[in-house]
Amino acid sequence: MVELVLFIVFGAIALAGALSMVLHPNPVHGALGLMATMLSIAVFYVVNSGHFIAAVQVVVYAGAVMTLFLFVIMLIGVDRHENLEESLPIQRPLAIAVGIAFLVLLGLIGGNAWITAPEAASPPNGTVENIADLLFTDWLLPFEVTTLLLIIASVGAVALAQYDPRPKE
């Protein structure tokens, strides 16, 4: 019963936030809508026994990533409302049609082949301890490769930020 109420409330918030992100002309409102969506997804993680993942979702996604987005939106200029007119004539109706067709297709596939495995007796317990157990045994190599990726990303960001398009004197 509690789960049903949580699903309805936060599912509605998640959908509303996602729609406002796509439809609102001002990117700041869109970023806030996306933040609401991410927070409600964190609630769903808690409900589905992903405690650690929910904390990471709030800290990394809703915290760091969205703050970075807002920072860049402020930097690039928020007062300029995007011109919502489409330059390609047929693009917009085609995009809406493709979106609807995609949703129908997913619904058809899902309706015919939901998960076939039997439901487990007990859900996994996603605490820090259990996640770390897996992360530092089975997933150790991917974890180490991730550090390489993060170094490359930070070096790339610094290199791009220092790039100056004006020619040197």
Binding site: N83, A95, G99
Partner: protein, 101 residues
């Protein structure tokens, strides 16, 4: 009424489709980027829900890796966007037509 895994998967599918439509409908590079993040989140939700259904913790580890890669991707993507903005003073992808023949 029980909330089964299928409900969450349907919600994840809806969020993914909204993200994909945002990618197609908008011309602001930042909003397109946020649409990508939305699609990643929808798939993450599916990972966690199916992991709960099958009693497998590996789904949550996969979500962890997706988050790390997404964070790295956001850093580089936003840096590129700022570099483009310095040159063109616009965040619209329509203005990036330098390679047009």
């Amino acid at each position: 009424m029980d909330v089964t895994a299928g409900w969450y998967l349907a919600l994840g599918a809806a969020l993914f489709v909204i993200g994909a439509s945002g990618m197609l409908l908008r011309r602001n590079a930042l909003v397109m980027f946020m649409s990508i993040e939305l699609m990643l989140n929808a798939v993450n939700l599916n990972f966690v829900v199916i992991g709960r259904h099958t009693g497998d913790l590996n789904g949550q580890v996969a979500v962890f890796f997706v988050m790390v890669v997404a964070a790295a991707e956001v850093v580089v993507g936003l840096a590129i966007m700022i570099a483009v903005f310095r040159r063109r003073a616009s965040a619209s992808v329509d203005d990036l037509a330098t390679l047009k023949g």
